[in-house]
């Protein structure tokens, strides 16, 4: 849902996720006061010739339960890779409370700016 008039600079609407920057470090999930961020990830090995394989965490699932979210921004502040950011758009209302759990693609749609 877009806001009709341009919101003031720094408006806190929805929380957007740039999934390419996320390393599944779990810091946002641990710091969230409402426990509303769910992260699933797995480990992949990248073979390197002549050396031990390099492990990489791959993000499987990133979900924010907006029924719980209190828009404090702690997750955005704590993310070491700036994967999370504020978007001036608002989260749509939903007929069921499960409709307020937004998954990675929906959070990615909120990403604004450069």
């Amino acid at each position: 849902m877009t806001v009709p008039s341009p919101p003031p600079a720094g408006s806190r609407g929805a929380i957007a996720l740039l999934a390419e920057s996320c390393t599944s470090c779990m810091l946002c999930a641990r710091e969230c006061p409402d426990w509303c961020i769910e992260i699933d990830s797995h480990t992949e090995n990248e073979p390197a010739a002549g050396r031990r394989p390099r492990t990489r965490h791959v993000l499987d699932r990133f979900a924010i339960d907006y029924a719980l979210c209190m828009y404090c921004g702690i997750c955005i502040d704590v993310c070491p890779f700036d994967a999370l950011s504020w978007s001036p758009e608002l989260v749509d209302p939903a007929a069921g409370v499960a409709g307020l759990i937004l998954e990675r693609d929906q959070l990615g749609a909120f990403v604004t700016g450069s």
């Binding site: 779990m26 641990r30 969230c32 990830s41």
Partner: protein, 190 residues
């Protein structure tokens, strides 16, 4: 006299009292057996006649501390009067005889911390529903919702769903499984 001088004179007038200043807030610590005397002297001799609030907190050594905020009017000066409640079970004389407004404040402090204010005219819970067990604002009071709900942060990077390899990390405020709650938190599941 300035507020600081007044507070200093008040502290000097009471045996065993001491004055501290923190971020511009003056606090006088008095012994618990001089609590009512201190409040009466503050009201009658030191112009601190406006009772703002009375509350309590649990200190780091699990001792309850009762704090009373008094204000002198025209000009306005604030003072915190504080006492440690060392008795077991914790009890303090009720301040209602000095300040009638302390009535509900003491009822709330009593139900939230398990304090007894002796001589209170109408003791009883104020905010908590009938049948509520425990004293919620004590540090040992466990929030059951945090124990019951699985913590999303318990997973390590690279884990997903129920594939938890290591010992689960506990969120803040949740005691170790053997100390509070069901004996087997996973219900017998591996």
């Amino acid at each position: 006299m300035t507020g600081h001088e007044r507070a200093g004179a008040f502290a000097a007038a009471l045996p065993g009292a001491s004055l501290t200043s923190s971020f511009g807030q003056l606090t006088v610590d008095v012994p618990a057996d001089a609590w009512l005397d201190a409040l009466r002297r503050a009201r009658d001799d030191f112009r601190l006649g406006y009772f703002d609030w009375l509350s309590a907190y649990e200190d780091t050594d699990s001792v309850l501390v009762v704090v009373c905020h008094l204000v002198a009017l025209e000009p306005v000066e604030h003072l915190l009067v504080r006492t440690r409640v060392d008795s077991e079970p914790p009890s303090l004389p009720s301040a209602v005889s000095v300040f009638r407004g302390a009535d509900w404040h003491e009822r709330e402090a009593a139900e939230m911390f398990g304090l007894t204010f002796t001589g209170h005219p109408a003791p009883g819970p104020l905010l908590l529903p009938a049948g509520f067990e425990g004293h919620p604002l004590r540090k040992g009071f466990v929030l059951a919702a945090r124990v019951a709900r699985p913590w999303p942060g318990a997973k390590e990077p690279g884990e997903s769903g129920s594939a938890v390899r290591r010992r689960r990390a506990l969120p803040p405020g949740v005691p170790a499984p053997g100390r509070w709650g069901p004996a087997d938190p996973d219900g017998g599941q591996p």
